[in-house]
Amino acid sequence: MTGLLIRGASVLGQSRDDIRVRDGRIVATGSLVAELDERVIDAEGLVALPGFVDLHTHLREPGGEASETVLTGTRAAAAGGFTAVFAMANTSPVADTAGVVEQVQQLGEQHGYATVRPIGAVTAGLAGERLSEIGAMARSRAAVRVFSDDGHCVHDALLMRRALEYVATFDGVIAQHAQEPRLTAGAQMNEGALSGELGLAGWPAVAEEAIIARDVLLAQHTGARLHVCHVSTAGSVEVIRWAKARGIAVTAEVTPHHLLLTEELARGYDAHFKVNPPLRRDEDARALREALADGTIDIVATDHAPHPAEAKECTWAEAAFGMVGLESALPVLQSTMIETGMLGFADIARVLSSAPAAIGRLEGYAAPVQEGVPANLVLVDPSARRTWSTDDLRGRSANTPYRGIELAGAIVATVHAGVPTVLDGVVRPAEEVATAASAAREAARG
């Protein structure tokens, strides 16, 4: 197979270098001369970052193919600069057995747009009653390390304790969707003056914070690893800050939409802004940005949640929760964190690549953009500006909340395991990517 030469990229937004990719790896960096069989990518003015890793993606397959499939979801991921996604377990059937997680993993391999790492359900059928086949999933070909009932909270304290202890056996982590169910029955949006005025049932901050507080204490008690999904309130940040100061093994994620958007958007009853946890107050978004900057929040994860048009073209209470977010993740981060001076591109490499990979025990992302590491790369044009529209999406669903909003930064190229999945800002055709990925796998075996 031919190699790639990326010329003149600003690596991590710092040194200016050429990068040579061969046989799925970065084989050289520095000042390089093009060879005859190489595809040359002119990266003048572009920033080279390690391929992004999303710890929280809903690919919907099996069962939800009307919204997304592994193919369309990983295509959207590639468009957003992601080379690995962790696929949430709330499919139908639920990913609570070795069979389902192996199937999802295999579909990812076959399509080649991104590495798909299945997340296993904590409880059978996400029912919150008994543990799923955690050991079987951990020992399967999919080698599951992240377990989550996302969409549902593991609210039973005893079950949560046992899950934390049990997955530790396999070096696993529980990714908790922190939502006290009784405090949020029928909840529609952030509880506050606006929910009172709009007549929409409130989702109080305490319902998230109370579960996080309980869970960090359980993590301390068991010595197991806890990961908190989509932190959305200033109070949650305080609890996590406290837990980290005590040395508790907790990590936390924030979504791009909670960094940028606030509850005010609910005012027009446009269900594209309905998400779980809900968009919060301006002071919450500010606290989340500060927590991401100071490391209290470890990573950014998209919670990419595709839904068909009819699930959003209805009254707020009837609409589905969730928004797509893979394609827009970097632009939102550039707009909220980089252009405000809160993070640099090297930090983006951490919060969007090496740190989520470490939490999910995904190899190959520890040392970004260096000789010898797997060639998972993304080229970002930081000078790009565009008014976001559904034309910018590459998945099957169009429920983006950013329509009409100007966002900074664009993905120009993505390379997954040495295979270009995006070039010149255009996602490469599925057949080309699948063929190249298959050839690369053969080469690696041979």
Binding site: G192, G199, L200, T315, W316
Partner: protein, 317 residues
């Protein structure tokens, strides 16, 4: 005015003019022929996703007295996604030539969605959306208060200097929300009384005074007491311990009614739970406006349909 979605959007001038037009409509009720030709050839659709015989009949009656063609569509219970059917149903009615759609829906924001989604061109009149607003109810309440106070001298007046106490389940009440915005816009002083469990969050930002005890509110010189219907099932969600306790603490009992000033009106949007939020002594007294509210509801709905569909007086001038 293109739509009537909430009373929050109404300014004082518009609100007073709606009440004045309703006065004109009330006058026609005394005529031998009560029907006006105003909306002849126009089609008004009542789109009710939620059962409400009273409100539906009131709107039907209002539209018929204006000579509109009236179609009533009860879209309750459908196996398809309800959201899909809201869009599809609205577009179907549009295709049939609806000039105005009166919509009642269990989801907050449904009327707003119909008006702003781009699905339809028709005028949208909110006949109650979830726990959000019920603007014609507030307008008919304001009309009733004004008429009781000023009688034939009502025209052009607002409610300055009036004191209105609203009691009960404010949290889930679209009637309370619409009344808070409208009555304060009209210059009235609004007091809310409810246990804390039934107050919406952020109520401290509303232009009202909140009381936790009914006595302290009723001790003021009150022009109108508005009792809200309490849903019995609320007690199962621990909003209050029992119906008996609710009646004792928050109900307009015969004793509390007897202690009211001689001119204090007793209002209720109906249907009433006698013995729970209101005693029969209060409901059946001469100071009760319950039946006036029903009568006035037709005039208010005639006024609003006239304004929306026939065009505002300024526009036609």
């Amino acid at each position: 005015m293109k739509h009537l979605l909430s009373t929050r959007d109404l300014d004082r001038e518009t609100a007073v003019s709606i009440l004045d037009i309703a006065e004109d409509m009330a006058r026609t009720a005394d005529r031998e022929v009560r029907k006006l030709p105003t909306l002849r050839g126009r089609t008004v659709v009542n789109l009710f996703f939620e059962d409400s015989t009273r409100t539906r009949l009131s709107f039907e009656s209002a539209a018929k007295r204006l000579s509109a063609d009236v179609i009533t569509f009860s879209a309750k219970g459908s196996s398809v996604s309800k959201g899909e059917s809201l869009k599809d149903t609205a577009q179907t009615l549009q295709a049939m030539g609806a000039d105005a759609i009166v919509v009642r829906h269990h989801g907050s924001g449904a009327a707003h969605l119909l008006a702003h989604s781009g699905w339809i061109e028709a005028h949208v009149l909110n006949a109650g959306d979830g726990t959000h607003e019920h603007p014609t109810q507030a307008l008919l309440d304001a009309f009733t208060i004004r008429q009781r106070c000023y009688g034939a001298d009502s025209r052009g007046r607002d409610l300055s200097g009036m004191r209105v106490v609203i009691v009960g389940d404010i949290l889930h009440s679209r009637v309370a929300r619409s009344n808070v915005w409208l009555l304060t816009t009209l210059g009235a002083e609004v007091h809310l009384v409810a246990p804390r469990t039934l107050l919406p969050s952020g109520v401290e930002t509303w232009p009202v005074r909140v009381h936790e005890h009914l006595e302290s509110a009723l001790a003021l010189d009150v022009d109108a007491v508005m009792m809200l219907r309490i849903q019995q099932e609320r007690m199962h969600d621990a909003f209050f311990p029992s119906a008996r306790e609710y009646a004792r603490e928050w109900g307009l009992t015969a004793e509390r009614f007897a202690a009211l000033g001689p001119d204090t009106m007793v209002m209720h949007p109906g249907p009433m739970n006698r013995g729970l939020e209101i005693s029969s002594a209060a409901a059946d007294s001469a100071r009760s406006t319950v039946l006036d509210q029903v009568t006035n509801g037709v005039f208010i709905r005639m006024a609003v349909l006239y304004l929306l569909v026939a065009g505002s007086p300024e526009a036609s001038a």
